[in-house]
């Protein structure tokens, strides 16, 4: 049988992914000196293998906080910008975060103490749910943006989440679920936190989780995408209540 052929696909589908291609500005950031520039480029390129040697060498000449602020964090900020403008994809952000955190760890060893974090966020995946990739992405993005993450992992019972909030006093707690039949644990957590007077934003998202469901219980703020997590945490650190976050991100 003769094969059918189409010479023009324009009225069948349109490749919108190619419409805005190349409109980004590309890499723009520069560092103060050559050593810092190399480290910053490692972060921007996500070079986890090379960064340790470069940071080690720089630590013989420079203050660790200078390396952190003027190369590692600066590189990560540039990566965030490249992601925002559509030049980078998530893997480039995750690899950059890996590189930055490896560099920071070396600097912290040299300082003999951990650098001050912007705030604590407790994260978990709902009881009965083993699909925690969304949570892992949230963790990586929060850490890349300077937050301490208390990672409770997956299939986490309600009690464990409530106890962690009591113990660590985070600015925000997050919950991830793939299935609608596991997300029902979120409402129980919300009730328990409210009863204990722990009225912090409880950001829930993932898979089949919907805004309608999450905004149906107290503390609930719907997280549509993992990339929103650092912004939400920043708002919580600045005193944003769960009602204010819900107003800003939902509805």
């Amino acid at each position: 049988m003769e094969a059918l052929a189409i010479s023009n696909y324009d009225n069948i589908f349109k490749r919108y992914d190619l419409v805005s291609e190349g409109s980004g500005q590309g890499i723009m950031a520069t560092a103060k000196d050559a050593d810092l520039q190399k480290i910053m480029e490692c972060v921007i390129e996500g070079e986890t293998d090379d960064i340790l040697g470069l940071v080690d060498e720089a630590l013989t000449k420079l203050d660790p906080m200078v390396i952190i602020n003027d190369a590692l964090i600066k590189g990560m900020n540039e990566v965030s910008r490249l992601w925002d403008e559509g030049t980078y994809y998530l893997p480039q952000v995750i690899l950059a975060s890996d590189a930055m955190l490896a560099g920071i760890e070396l600097c912290e060893k040299k300082m003999g103490k951990s650098m001050e974090k912007k705030g604590i966020v407790v994260t978990h995946t709902a009881e009965g749910d083993i699909h925690d990739l969304g949570q892992k992405i949230v963790n990586a993005l929060l850490r890349a943006n300077g937050y301490e993450v208390i990672d409770l992992g997956k299939d986490v019972p309600v009690d464990t989440v409530v106890n962690a909030v009591k113990q660590y006093k985070p600015v925000m707690v997050t919950g991830t679920a793939l299935m609608t039949t596991t997300m029902t644990a979120f409402e129980k957590i919300s009730n328990r936190l409210s009863a204990a007077g722990l009225e912090i934003p409880f950001v829930c998202g993932g898979g089949a989780v919907s805004e309608e469901y999450v905004t149906g219980y107290k503390l609930g703020v719907f997280g549509k995408d993992a990339s929103q997590a650092p912004g939400m945490a920043a708002d919580a650190v600045n005193g944003g209540t769960w009602q204010e976050l819900r107003e800003k991100y939902n509805g």
Partner: protein, 457 residues
């Protein structure tokens, strides 16, 4: 070890919807791949109904009754219903068993009363945590096997699963665009885990005289595909997700090497390759699964299907009835169109229209078009020395095909991502043990909880 050495079909042109080389018969006069396509409806319970066995059984009873009523209302000749276990149905095997039994009772009534052909697939939830427990020696696995037994005893005709072996590595690799990790996680660890678990599943199926169905790489390749998302998403390159799918094709074969007969699981987008190699009937989903997730191959993926599915639809009211009834109707008319084409001798024309609608829309549809899927299948069987070799070969063939067809347009970023992965694939060792040793050393350091011994390594 891999077993398939040749293709079941002589060419891609021979593959068509509704007919498989090895049809399967079960249930109430239900034949899959025997000349016609049937719908497979997957209902999903509303949140809150999972709180007890009683409420969940009641929910399934209502959902399935609506499906069967709609079949009778509009004249659908036959239907398969998938009981895709929510966690609670597997964790409490008796729940899944009772739901299967209740659905069987309903189906028998409709068969007796109207002659409606029907069958039940029970898909057990794999809730093992590969980074926290021994995947082959855990309470979770023990409970899952009990759930298979309870479902088979209750009335399931087809036993299926979405195994998660290697997911700890693949979750790490997908978000880092690490093709080596994908080949290791899906192609090696996933295959080893399937070999182990499917021996047990087939044994249970044989014990109860039911059909061992299939296994999809939903937990990994679908993660990559869904993260790649639509044209405006920037989570995972689409070209990389397509490579992941090709690796999944090599991995999902293991179920059939261990004795599974199909029809395969609906969300296994790689199943067109499975059909080309094994000849088993396949269940597919596309535009009709938009209720559960979006994809870029809604029509193309129907091209070789034997069951046509909706993935999962949560039970709610719509203007046209409940969601399960509405989706049964949508699937029913899609299937009626395919079967009309078969009766008119126009199946090949309709298939080509399905394919041309989406072949160049995105990378995933491109590699799963029957001609390209067939080529990937050939690469798999030609490299059957090890799970690793055939997984790597599948990815390389998919990459070659994508780079070799100018009609598949790519952004510079997508092309660079693909070329980078191809360079990594080419640089990988020829020998499986060398690859495994290398990966164990790397990922033991990088992935918390990864334990090679859990996979017999």
């Amino acid at each position: 070890m891999p077993k398939f050495e040749k293709m079941a079909y002589d060419s891609a042109e021979e593959m068509i919807f509704g007919t498989a080389k090895s049809p399967v018969q079960y249930g109430r006069d239900f034949v899959v791949g025997g000349g016609y396509v049937y719908p497979e409806l997957v209902p999903h319970p509303r949140p809150g109904t999972e709180k007890s066995q009683k409420t969940l059984v009641k929910e399934y009873e209502k959902m399935v009754t609506d499906v069967l009523d709609r079949c009778v209302a509009i004249g659908i000749p036959g239907i398969q219903v998938e009981l895709e276990h929510v966690y609670q149905m597997t964790k409490n095997p008796a729940w899944g068993g009772e739901i299967a039994a209740q659905v069987k009772r309903l189906m028998e009534n409709y068969h007796r009363k109207y002659g409606l052909k029907s069958a039940i697939r029970a898909t057990i939830a794999d809730y093992r945590k590969p980074d926290e427990e021994k995947v082959w020696d855990s309470l979770a696995l023990e409970t899952m096997l009990e759930a298979f037994e309870a479902s088979a005893a209750g009335g399931a005709d087809n036993l299926s699963i979405e195994t998660v072996g290697g997911k700890e590595i693949t979750d790490y690799a997908i978000v880092r665009q690490d093709i080596r990790g994908v080949v290791f996680g899906i192609g090696v660890l996933g295959s080893l885990d399937m070999e182990y678990t499917w021996k047990k599943i087939v044994k249970i199926a044989d014990k109860y005289g039911v059909t061992p169905g299939g296994d999809t790489n939903c937990a990994q390749a679908n993660v990559a595909m869904f993260m790649a998302g639509g044209y405006q998403d920037r989570s995972v390159p689409h070209s990389f997700a397509a490579l992941t799918r090709a690796v999944a094709a090599a991995r999902s074969l293991v179920a059939y090497e261990q004795g599974a007969k199909g029809p395969t699981k609906d969300c296994g987008y790689e199943d067109v390759v499975t059909k080309a190699i094994t000849g088993v009937p396949i269940a597919m989903e596309g535009k009709t699964s938009a209720c559960a997730h979006s994809d870029l191959l809604g029509n193309l993926v129907m091209a070789c299907c034997d069951l046509w599915s909706n993935e999962a639809v949560e039970y709610h009211d719509m203007f046209g009835g409940t969601t399960t009834a509405v989706f049964a109707e949508i699937l029913g008319y899609d299937v009626a169109l395919m079967n009309t084409a078969i009766e008119l001798g126009k199946a090949r024309d309709l298939q080509q229209m399905m394919v041309l609608s989406d072949k160049y829309r995105d990378h995933h549809g491109f590699i799963l078009a029957p001609d390209n899927a067939y080529e990937i299948g050939k690469a798999i069987v030609a490299n059957n020395g090890s799970y690793y070799a055939r997984s790597r070969a599948a990815a390389m063939k998919a990459g070659e095909l994508m780079l070799g067809d100018p009609l598949l347009r790519m952004s510079a970023f997508e092309k660079e991502a693909l070329q980078s992965s191809m360079a990594q694939l080419e640089a990988m060792p020829e020998n499986e043990q060398d690859f495994i040793d290398n990966c164990c050393e790397i990922y033991k350091k990088q992935v918390r909880g990864f334990e090679p011994k859990n996979y017999g390594l």
